[in-house]
């Protein structure tokens, strides 16, 4: 159930949309980069035979 935002509906909804989009991009980018880093380290450990 949407609250009544009156004449400021555009401002409020755009503030929420922009902020939540930026937060989602930040979290997804962070997780994706983390997975890539794990794969890079595993590959480097395989190549060099070091796991210490």
């Amino acid at each position: 159930m949407m609250p009544e935002l009156g004449k400021y509906a555009t401002e409020v909804l755009s503030a929420y949309a922009v902020s939540l989009l930026l937060l989602a991009v930040l979290v997804l980018w962070t997780l994706r980069r983390g997975r890539a880093a794990r794969a890079t380290l595993e590959a480097a450990e395989r190549e060099t035979g070091r796991h210490d």
């Binding site: 159930m1 609250p3 009544e4 935002l5 009156g6 004449k7 400021y8 509906a9 401002e11 409020v12 755009s14 503030a15 929420y16 922009v18 902020s19 930026l22 937060l23 991009v25 930040l26 979290v27 962070t30 997780l31 980069r33 983390g34 880093a37 794990r38 890079t40 380290l41 590959a43 480097a44 450990e45 190549e47 060099t48 070091r50």
Partner: protein
Amino acid sequence: MSIWSYANPVKFLTLSARVQPVLWVLSLAFVATGLIWGFFGTPEDYRQGATVKIIYLHVPAALMAINAWFMMLVASLIWLIRRHHVSALAAKAAAPVGVVMTVIALLTGAIWGQPMWGTWWAWDPRLTSFLILFLFYLGYIALWEAVEDPDTAADLTSVLCLVGSVFAVLSRYAVQFWNQGLHQGTSVPVATGGRSVDDVFFYPLVLCMIGFGLLFIALVFYRTGTEIRLRRAAALRARAGRAA
């Protein structure tokens, strides 16, 4: 166990793996509850109308934009004084989170300011110092990328962080230093406790502030782990290259 034992990357990664699930769940719970409560469960303000609902994003983001820089400052000082690599990597990991928080604070501030002040932007002390803080974040990230040797990069970015801290302080206290400008004083002054926000808006705001703080910690833990793994992979390859 001393806190300095976590300067060991393996111990840091072990701790990180243990606390992260809790941090992610709690941050999501606090942010979701605070935003849903604030958006759906609070009334309009008698002067600001429905735009008051922007406070649940603007204030926590601004709070974390400034506090992220202070966390980077502490980590940078630890690097400069004790040469712990994990602290330098933690500062590096925090910067992109801080810059996103700064962008959210600036954008939501502009969207809020337009109907309330009649302008998207004003060269007000707090807004200007916040914009300069944003530029410092960009410079900090660019410097890490520009310098090839990681220890030199950590040294230079730590010094930049010390300089930028002036603007982080100004972002927080500009209103008190220069009693002018459009931006109001701090909504929730922790030191004095004399807040200007009514209870009906205050409680969901506190949940959002806690949630943004926990989200920041979760992201920095995860991103620091990423930086440690990338550094380790580069070191292994460099060592193998020298031995070949």
